[in-house]
Amino acid sequence: MPPWIAVLVVVALVAVTTLVGWALRRRESRPRRAVATGSEWLDAGARGAQATLVQFSTELCTRCPQVRRMLHTIAGEADGVALAEVDLTHRADLATRLHILQTPTVFVLDATGAVRSRFAGVPRKDAVAAELDRVIGDPAHV
């Protein structure tokens, strides 16, 4: 094909990849609210009185440290909110059972320990804080 068409194709590829990147980033701050399910896989002692933020990581996860730092700040600012971290590197069974397709993944648990929503990827801090407020203000009745 003529070089100018090749250049056009490449420009289109860059544009589409950029759009995909924006869409992926937007999606990461959108919580997926599930029907409340139990969290028996988490040690009961790791739960907070009001809510618990659970981060799933692996050893090979470049974006997990920044999320850990962000969640740490959120948990420090709120009362009764605990932060737990689960390393999936050697827990492939847990990743399968909880349908975790990528790390970092963040679960928001309410006071009863029920999983109320999850973020896949790196969410914005205000998105996590808003979801945490919602879960604390409206505990599941299970």
């Binding site: 068409i5 194709v9 990849t17 992926l24 974006r63 050697h90 790390t103």
Partner: protein, 191 residues
Amino acid sequence: MSDAPVGIDPRGPRFGAAITSLLLLFVIVLGLSGISTAQGAASFGWFAYQPLSSQTFFPLSFILVTAPIGARILDPAFLLLLVVALLFLWGVLSPRTAPWGALYRKLVQPRLAPPAELEDPRPPRFAQGVGLLVSVIGLALQLCGVPWGLPIAAAAAFIAAFLNAAFGFCLGCQLYLLLQRAGLVGRRSAA
């Protein structure tokens, strides 16, 4: 984490990914305008491409299929992707001496504020391995005479490198977890 290696500046691999994606863009342009996708009736290399020659029975035959192995290798897109693949290989074998990392530490890092946190060097190294695999697939397809194989593989590598450079997305991490769920890696210690 006690056996974790010394951390690196996480912006280093993203700087490298930016240069890699630029190189891959050149590979794609060269591949699309070169022998990898060319159609025509020439049977002795793309230099003698003649759109209206007599072989009208095969108006859409790909030149790459009949091109001699030498022409497949001397294709500029093939040579440039080979360079990219060798750079990926360098990044896998010796990340500390790989050229883009060295360039980053020498020219870019001194002008920036220190990083907020250091990063485990193994994920970027894993990603270099994935990039190497995709590049080698593109090179092999070209050697086997598969039309479009090289530019499509280069485009796949570009998407991964560009998402890393521009958005910090770690496709390697995600791939690692999927491989793990499939039971291919990470089963050294029992759950």
